[in-house]
Subunit: 206 residues, 2 copies
């Protein structure tokens, strides 16, 4: 389809622009409410403490809740409302980048729209694609959405502190992920306490 | 667009077929892992005990996890894999109905694909459209996805037993919902224990 080909062309433009500017960008996908913003907030604080200059693009169907949370952390950010579209695309990202002075940014987090289906087909030109899910969504999530997990560079299984309350064994999810992505990396985290985030951050920036 | 118009036409066919057969159908939408299947399982058990004959259609991108869970409850069911499509549509439902003897069914649950965006645009011809979300997804869910909540006949805010662990006040979500849908009904439930489900069932079948 033309839409997907056009998206690939613009993703290549995004990748080239980011490469020339020395910006490392990460596409943070995942289900609604899995903890994407909380994880970005935590990573931004950790990276700022190391002198790394962060920025963010937030994608949501409506509203600017995530944008407001991230600017509280003192970083430049841009909000994109996608309306009826349930994913970000490289055209939207390319335009959003015009709002930043890329020379002053080291790491750019792109928080995608909460959705485990359509974002898979729309690469944004980021260095790595991350999928954040949470144990509270059940243990069959990977089996049900194989495509997005096959293309993920890193998967984060968040809210492990709640596993016992929903009757989910995190290792079930880990096994499912290893079956479809033997080389993919998966991290178990509690974004509220910070548990597991240092390992995830290191894998992201390695 | 032609796709949406065609969907409306087939939804009208579905509605007419169900009306003639005396089947009451409910479109259960909501976010990934919010508790849709667990709620349907509980309602099926409750209704069977009252002599109500139930059936189900399950929509998922891949796999038949939900289908397998529902047939354990001794009801006829049909699984639909939507592949790249992140929502069910009335064409898929119309064909799925061919697998049932509608004369022997009183209530049909249609579990839609987990997604808070695209299912809004694809009515299936059901009597009521329900949106199931859970407190573990955060308290800003309604603000972020106004469209699907505006068209919902009933909203279920599930997993209220976990509210304190994610720092969410359920009344925040209720207030947001009332703002955009003054006449819409919202029920707070714990699908694991059954709390709140009798009230939801009565509103659904009223
Ligand atoms: N207990 C617990 N709660 C968490 C954790 N991570 C996030 N939360 C809570 O989960 C809810 C959703 O977190 P967000 O960070 O807003 O999730 P998100 O993926 O950005 O959500 P959307 O952008 O709306 O798709 C919030 O109430 C968080 O406080 C965790 O590891 N453990
Ligand atoms: N603590 C708690 N756990 C729940 C509740 N409802 C569902 N769960 C758990 O949440 C997880 C997801 O529930 P499902 O019923 O599979 O959710 P779903 O919406 O059908 O999921 P998908 O079809 O994959 O989108 C499972 O591990 C359930 O046991 C609840 O009210 N409280
Ligand atoms: Mg967010
Ligand atoms: Mg389900």
């Amino acid at each position: 389809k033309d839409i997907l080909r056009r998206n690939e062309e613009l993703a290549a433009e995004v990748r080239e622009l980011l490469r020339r500017s020395g910006v490392r960008a990460f596409d943070i996908m995942g289900s609604v409410g899995s903890g994407k913003t909380t994880i970005i907030e935590q990573l931004v604080d950790m990276l700022k403490a190391e002198g790394v200059r962060c920025a963010a693009i937030t994608g949501d169907v409506a509203g600017d809740c995530d944008y407001q949370r991230l600017v509280q952390h003192g970083i430049p950010a841009k909000n994109i409302n996608t309306g009826k579209q349930c994913h970000l695309d490289s055209h939207l990202v390319l335009h959003a980048l015009e709002n930043f002075n890329l020379r002053e940014i080291d790491v750019l987090f792109i928080e995608n729209v909460g959705n485990l289906v359509c974002p898979a087909d729309f690469p944004l030109g980021a260095e790595k694609r991350v999928v954040v899910i949470s144990v509270t969504e059940g243990d069959d999530i990977v089996r049900k959405h194989p495509l997005i997990f096959q293309l993920a560079d890193i998967v984060v299984l968040n809210k492990i502190d709640l596993a016992e309350f929903v009757g989910v064994e995190p290792q079930t999810v880990v096994k499912d992920f290893r079956k479809i992505s033997p080389n993919g990396k998966i991290f178990l985290t509690n974004a509220k306490s910070g548990e597991g985030l240092a390992e995830f951050k290191n894998a992201l920036l390695s």
